[in-house]
């Protein structure tokens, strides 16, 4: 059992008819830091988590991609538009710890310019906060998680990572080689996996990463800073309660419109579901950019702006693959060990914003699916290429996606097992996304050629779920304010990737955690 598992038996428990200070919906990158911060401040808080509680990752998680579906959000989502995004294991997790259980733990900070893209380029959307607002939070979160990174970060020499980088693996080595040949910078990536054993006052010592490579299938030794080994033990030790198997279906309001109870279905061990109701004085909705707007659209709440579900974004996550003469065995080591930020604002670019590049080690089943889907192979061609697995390495981008009126989430006519309509997401690349994908593919192809890859091909892919409850100054065109508080309902706060007004080029989780701390502190101040 891990530390959090051990804490479970002595965890404080609240009565449903006792009005707790806050209910936090979701225990991922948004919910967990809030839960911990509020509990540490002495508040009574209950977290409702839809997924199960994996109390012993060392025993619960097999090194197996199909078995890992238990940590993926597998309630069906309908993916529409010209660039339909793959959900499930590609984007969303479940369980105590939320999506951080299956998270890649790649933790770049956002670039300062990305927060003001509209001012810079005329496209996209500015955030109602600045990099300097986020900076202290970045530093705190990185320290808390023990983020590993290079001693000197080429794109921000002032930055200091608390632990040294994790070892560069095969794909990372190849990316370094390719970028060097192109005269571009690449460095060890900031990742929320430990290169050395690490302890903080708030949680028990975590062991260093042992390079298993199955990070997306659940970390077994706590080296990856998923919420269940970082913020959540702190939260529970500080008096928070976590209820697994609890899927929220609605709210109750008082006469002034404030929320005073959360309605949820609790999945009991015998497989049945019971409807429950927790009284509370505030609600933090941290269910991600699909479940958060879905619940709000279903309940009709907090949507005075009409912006709930709008501006859905997914990162442009184009990949380039190649086959090398020597075995790479890309499954070993942290999946993405090398980064480049040189392409955040490429010279003479025909698009707004930019993208990060990262080396890619992908485990075989996930890779086989990409090959079959995106490369379009089947038959002997497919089987023969899959047999090259040990000799293949990838490189990928995480690129800006502009908010667009064309891209939105709505409720479909189909209902799921919880009786809620399944979400229908419309997503199509615009000109900017297409240009970024092309630019990235061209650069990565050159890098792979320079690294002497053969049989190079491009894989189109989108990653992450972003937008749908954007933050902003004005109640007219945003759902929450710059601190995550709903413009419509004073005691409803939202914190997850849904509040992002623009996608940023960086992977979202680290920034979500920063926003979470900021939201929690704003709540405490109010």
């Amino acid at each position: 059992m891990n530390e959090l598992g051990r804490l479970r038996s002595t965890m404080r428990r609240f009565r449903e008819d006792e009005s707790v200070d806050a209910v936090v919906i979701g225990t991922g990158a948004g919910g967990a830091p809030i839960l911990a911060t509020l509990a540490a401040a002495g508040l009574s808080v209950v977290a409702l988590e839809a997924g199960p509680w994996f109390t012993s990752p060392a025993d619960d998680f097999a090194t197996d991609e199909l078995d890992a579906s238990k940590i993926y959000w597998t309630d069906e989502r309908l993916s529409g538009g010209d660039t339909p995004e793959a959900f499930g294991g590609n984007t969303s997790g479940t369980g105590v710890g939320g999506s951080t259980l299956h998270w890649g733990a790649f933790t770049p900070r956002t670039d300062r310019r990305d927060l003001k893209l509209k001012s810079e380029s005329g496209d996209g959307s500015d955030w109602p906060l600045t990099y300097d607002d986020l900076l202290p939070y970045y530093e705190r979160v990185e320290r808390f998680l023990g983020v590993s990174g290079p001693a000197s970060y080429p794109w921000d020499p002032t930055r200091k990572y608390p632990t040294p980088p994790v070892p560069v693996n095969g794909p990372g080595e190849l990316m370094m080689r390719g970028f060097k040949a192109l005269g571009m910078r690449a460095a060890e990536a900031p990742v929320a996996a430990l290169s050395v054993d690490y302890a903080t006052p708030e949680y028990a010592e975590r062991k260093a990463c042992v390079n298993r490579g199955f990070c997306h299938q659940g970390c077994r030794n706590g080296a990856k800073a998923s919420m269940d080994v970082t913020y959540l033990p702190w939260a529970v030790r500080s008096g928070a309660e976590i209820r697994p198997g609890c899927f929220v279906t609605g709210f109750e309001q008082d006469t002034t419109g404030r929320l005073n109870a959360v309605i949820y279905r609790e999945q009991t061990d015998d497989g049945r579901a019971t409807e429950r109701r927790q009284k509370c004085r505030a609600v933090f909705l941290c269910a991600g950019a699909i479940e958060t707007p879905r619940l709000l659209l279903h309940t009709g709440l907090a949507n005075g702006s009409g912006q709930v579900g709008r501006n859905y974004m997914g990162h442009v996550a184009t990949q380039v693959w190649g086959t090398f003469d020597q075995p790479v065995r890309m499954n070993k080591g942290f999946p993405a060990t090398v980064i480049s930020e040189d392409s955040l604002r490429p010279a003479k670019a025909d698009f707004a914003g930019g993208y990060l590049v990262q080396s890619l080690g992908v485990v075989p089943v996930t890779w086989a699916q990409s090959v079959a889907r995106s490369r379009g192979l089947f038959g002997e061609d497919l089987v023969r290429y899959l047999a090259d697995y040990n000799y293949v390495a990838g490189i990928g981008i995480n690129g800006e996606c502009l908010p667009s009126a064309r891209n939105y989430l709505e409720l479909s006519r189909e209902k799921d097992a919880n009786g809620l309509p399944k979400p229908l997401i419309h997503f199509s690349y615009g000109k900017n996304e297409l240009a970024i994908a092309d630019h990235g593919a061209k650069l990565m192809t050159q890098a792979w050629q320079a690294a002497e890859a053969k049989d190079i091909w491009r894989c189109e892919r989108t990653a992450h779920t972003i937008g749908t409850c954007r933050m902003g100054e004005s109640p007219e065109n945003s759902v929450v304010n710059a601190f995550g508080c709903s413009h419509d309902i004073a005691n409803l706060w939202i914190c997850d990737n849904s509040v992002f007004p623009s996608s940023l080029a960086a992977n979202p989780a680290l920034t979500i955690m920063c926003l979470a701390l900021r939201t929690a502190e704003a709540f405490l101040k109010s």
Partner: protein
């Protein structure tokens, strides 16, 4: 002992006899599939045909006696093992006679569990018009002395017996070569004597289950004739009509024939072991070693177990749909060594999804049903027969078109498949086939035997890895 070819080296034994002018090679395609499916097939050359060209004894008694002796020798040492008797056309009549011998307790023939007959000549005198018999004798009874002309006549004979879909070139060539290399005396003997012999009383009613396959395009020995003349000889039998197929099902429809034989074996309680159910020594030792965590080993072993046989019966899809699904799976991940389609069908039946689907497609089970129906519609449109009946090259051609968005209802696309609500549009078909490829590749790659094939050992991660740079290897990596 008659010459024979064998396919597969374990599992239930199926003895197969061939048609007039053919040889054991007529079962080559179906035999290979059955061999991969965990059955053993022995395809015998009857006296006067194939490699038995110089062996005499062409009447029913002589042929059945020769087969009985051959089977006895082949089965020596495994006399209690279950086996099935099968035959095509002429071979079907001999097979029924052999089955009677076995039922009567002939030495070395115990354990007979069923009969597989394909367009059999019935035990009674074959219902054949005299003019037809005369024409065949004229056509092939003697060599014309001109090799080219002989070849031409043989080709015509093969084509006349073929249904809506012409044979694959190599299969047709092989069949023509069989005709040319047969002993023409044996050919005449069958037409003039063997086919006219009345064995209906001697065969009687066999206390055996049987399947009788027959093509709907066949002139004399189609499903109706089989129901009337052959079926009553079995206590428990089914006549299965093969839509659009002629007299040469083993050559025309090897996949479907093999599928029906597998289902039949399953219905008799005979299990068909998947090749992928066995791992090589090195890989198996690694999986057993302390490099693999207990839960990982358990997950991998239970996956092996759940895909250990070809015995799966579809739950969400009909039998016909499932055969098409298996045909499709074979084109996407050929020779996987296990029932990939079965694993996916099981998921469809359980209703467990992967968290998303294309909004343009219906829920998973319905999406498969509709996709398979669309493939069938395209196959009917292009080749007049369903998808499952097509040659692998033709199936691949349709799949390439599907992935290019060229198959679908509506006016666009090169293969217009009508406007039925059961059919996809070109873009839907493209998305569905992407989904199909992804699902099949996922299921294929996740099987331990595929990992072994690929050389993937990342599951052996207890204690982690230390040799993660290029050129380095862990001690167990080769």
């Amino acid at each position: 002992m008659l010459p024979y070819r064998s396919y597969g080296d374990h599992g239930p034994l199926l003895v197969l006899l061939h048609w007039l002018t053919g040889s054991g090679l007529a079962w080559h395609e179906a035999g290979k599939i059955l061999g991969e499916r965990g059955a053993q097939c022995i395809a015998i050359d009857l006296p006067g045909f194939g490699d038995a060209n110089s062996i005499s004894g062409y009447d029913m008694r002589a042929m059945s006696t020769a087969v009985v002796e051959t089977v006895r020798k082949l089965r020596s040492g495994t006399t209690e093992a279950p086996w099935l008797m099968g035959g095509h056309s002429m071979g079907g009549k001999v097979a029924a006679a052999v089955a009677r011998e076995a039922i009567n307790g002939a030495d070395g023939l115990s354990g007979l569990r069923g009969a597989v007959l394909v367009s059999p000549s019935p035990p009674c005198p074959e219902p054949m018009q005299e003019s037809k018999r005369a024409e065949m004798l004229k056509q092939l009874g003697e060599s014309t002395g001109d090799a080219d002309h002989d070849r031409e006549l043989a080709g015509k004979f093969i084509d006349d017996n073929t249904g809506k879909l012409p044979l694959r070139t190599e299969v047709r060539e092989r069949a023509v070569t069989d005709v040319l290399s047969m002993n023409r005396t044996a050919f005449r003997a069958w037409l003039e004597q063997g086919s006219k012999e009345d064995w209906s009383e001697r065969v009687g009613r066999l206390p055996l289950p049987a399947i009788i396959l027959a093509g709907t395009e066949e002139a004399a020995l189609g499903p109706d004739v089989q129901r009337e003349k052959t079926l009553p000889h079995f206590i428990d039998g089914d006549v299965i009509a093969l839509e659009g197929c002629g007299h040469l099902a083993p050559l025309e429809r090897p996949f479907e024939v093999a599928e029906h034989i597998c289902s039949f074996m399953n219905s008799l309680g005979l299990s068909l072991k998947a090749q992928a159910g066995e791992l090589g020594q090195t890989f198996a030792s690694l999986l057993e070693s302390n490099r693999v965590s207990a839960q990982t080993r358990s997950v991998m072993e239970s996956r092996m177990l759940s895909a250990a046989t070809w015995d799966y019966k579809s739950k969400a899809l009909s039998d016909t749909e499932f055969r098409t699904m298996r045909a499709l799976a074979e084109r996407v991940v050929p020779h996987a060594g296990f029932d990939v389609a079965g694993s996916i069908e099981q998921r469809l039946a359980n209703g467990t999804g992967d968290g998303w689907r294309f909004a343009t497609l219906p829920p998973d089970a319905e999406a498969w049903r509709k996709g398979l129906a669309s493939l069938d519609a395209a196959a009917e449109r292009e080749f007049l027969v369903p998808f499952v009946a097509l040659h692998p090259e033709q199936q691949d051609d349709l799949l390439r078109k599907a992935s290019g968005g060229e198959i679908g209802k509506g006016l666009l696309g090169s293969v217009h498949i009508g406007d039925s609500a059961d059919a996809y549009s070109g873009s839907e078909m493209k998305q569905w086939f992407e989904e199909v490829r992804g699902e099949l590749a996922k299921c294929y790659m996740a099987h331990p035997s595929t990992m072994e094939r690929v050389g993937f050992t990342g599951f052996a991660d207890e204690g982690g890895f230390t040799q993660i740079q290029i050129g380095q290897r862990e001690e167990f990596e080769r």
